[in-house]
């Protein structure tokens, strides 16, 4: 058999997600437009209108309805897709818990954008991070290619019988949704083979009627919640498996839960999530050329969180810095909290710094990242620096 043609296209991240969704053949798409997710929905609507995508495209009056509609569709036993961003994700909040608690393998793209107020439409991770405990798998991507590939992987992960948990694929608003990139598009037959047909689990049936989304009293809630926790545990393996298998078919894989760059022999690493990992890699590469033993860890999966990975990383590093494009007011960056928590174990005394940066679309410049590595070097040598730093913040005193 001849290898399917490799097709490339110069497209935005939004279009890459739309193409990925089309390749996964969802039967029902319901979405409400919101900047910067709009491109995704517009493109899908075009594909459906042109007959290139055989999905029911539902126009709904809100994001709450969008997710309710795809949950209803998923209940009827078909593959579904939706996309949102920021305020829209927050409007979905109630349904996020409904979908995950009811174990429907819905896949969603979230164009990361900050949350008002102050009003702003540009990117940071405060929207999705605030939905950390909604029971969704949360994956973050670095570029348009990874957005396309991860969305396809997301269906495989969500629909795995050991997981059956919805997946949110997060791509940075504007930096990815509106930036054009040369993206390789896998052939339809590759995606068809990779995903297989949709196998409904908790679905309506006229022949064998089921009661769905039923009440569980206090005596039984804990067991259902434990099921969700176990599914997230299984998802750690399945995310890695799905990535490996995708790599076998397309030649592209991303390290599973985390993507490492020059970590093996490094003393200091930066941890980043989303598109900033691309900038950080360029800086890390340059510092390597100058002889600095620095590395980079890109977190792909925020939930489930790769706790064991960071525990082992902490044993090998002298300093770990975490870039957060979010902040949990009154504490610190959310990713930093997770990593600090994973590092708290006997035998690990690695020093850490949290960098709160890239809030509401502010650039994370290469010089900021160079300075971050410099701070890591300083704490690795025993100096004291502020634990939480805000690169680029005006009028800072250190």
């Amino acid at each position: 058999m001849n290898a399917p043609d490799r097709k490339r296209a110069f497209i935005s991240g939004g279009e890459a997600v739309a193409i990925a969704a089309r390749l996964c053949r969802p039967d029902v798409v319901a979405a409400y437009p919101i900047t910067p997710q709009t491109v995704i929905v517009e493109k899908i609507s075009d594909y459906v209108a042109a007959g290139e995508m055989r999905a029911q495209f539902l126009l709904v009056e809100s994001e709450h309805s969008a997710l309710a509609a795809v949950m209803g569709a998923s209940m009827s036993g078909v593959r579904t897709f939706t996309a949102t961003s920021s305020q829209g994700l927050l409007y979905m909040c109630e349904m996020l818990h409904y979908v995950s608690g009811s174990r429907f393998p819905v896949v969603m793209a979230n164009a990361n954008r900050t949350v008002a107020a102050p009003w702003n439409i540009f990117g940071d991770h405060r929207d999705s991070i605030s939905q950390r405990d909604s029971g969704w798998i949360q994956l973050y991507v670095e570029n348009c290619q990874e957005a396309l590939d991860t969305l396809i992987q997301a269906y495989r992960i969500a629909e795995d019988s050991r997981v059956l948990t919805p997946v949110m694929v997060n791509l940075d608003g504007y930096v990815l949704t509106h930036t054009y990139e040369n993206v390789e598009i896998p052939a339809q037959e590759i995606v068809d083979g990779y995903l297989g047909p949709f196998k409904p689990v908790n679905a309506f049936s006229f022949e064998k009627p089921k009661s769905l989304c039923f009440t569980a009293p206090p005596e039984w809630q804990t067991e259902f919640r434990y099921q969700q926790q176990e599914a997230m545990g299984a998802a750690q393996r399945i995310i890695a498996e799905a990535d490996r298998e995708y790599g076998r078919l397309t030649g592209r894989c991303y390290g599973g839960l985390v993507d490492e760059y020059n970590v093996r022999d490094a003393d200091c690493v930066l941890v980043a999530m989303g598109s900033v990992a691309g900038t950080a890699r360029i800086v890390a590469e340059r510092l390597r050329d100058r002889g600095h033993k620095v590395g980079l860890v890109k977190v792909r999966s925020f939930r489930p969180f790769p706790k064991e990975y960071f525990r082992e990383l902490g044993k090998k590093m002298k300093a770990v810095g975490v870039i957060d494009r979010d902040i949990s007011f009154g504490y610190e960056g959310a990713l930093y909290s997770e990593i600090r928590s994973a590092l708290y174990t006997p035998g690990v005394s690695v020093r850490t710094i949290n960098f709160i940066a890239g809030i509401s679309g502010r650039d994370i410049k290469q010089e900021y990242i160079e300075s971050m590595y410099e701070q890591l070097r300083r704490i690795a040598e025993g100096e004291n620096v502020p634990e939480i730093q805000y690169p680029g913040l005006r009028w800072q005193t250190w």
């Binding site: 009811s102 059956l164 689990v201 908790n202 009293p217």
Partner: protein
């Protein structure tokens, strides 16, 4: 009462594998008596009842059984809302305070 009484002989899951996956399953799982908050219970005067079945049709909980010769109320699921008594055209149903004899 000919209505299936799911509670009779029902066994709760005794192992993880017996649990439904999420809150979705065929009928009759994790069932329980569901009427604990009733203050008044409906009582049917069978001499007056014409079996018009308006109560059976309107009961929001499907707690009225018509399978036998006469109507019966499943008090394991009746919440005491009183719709049946309100709607009964011949006033054959009265709401009786729980704990008091008819």
């Amino acid at each position: 009462m000919n209505k299936p009484k799911a509670l009779n002989g029902y066994k709760y899951p005794s192992a993880k594998e017996e649990m439904p996956l999420g809150p979705g399953s065929y009928a009759g799982v994790l069932i329980d008596v569901n009427s604990g908050w009733r203050t008044f219970r409906p009582a049917i005067d069978l001499d007056m009842c014409k079996k018009c079945l308006i109560c059976w049709l309107l009961c929001p909980d499907g707690a009225i059984d018509k399978s036998g010769d006469r109507l019966e109320i499943d008090y394991d699921y009746c919440k005491g809302c009183g719709i049946c008594a309100y709607e009964c055209p011949v006033k054959a149903i009265t709401m009786v305070k729980e704990g008091e004899r008819q």
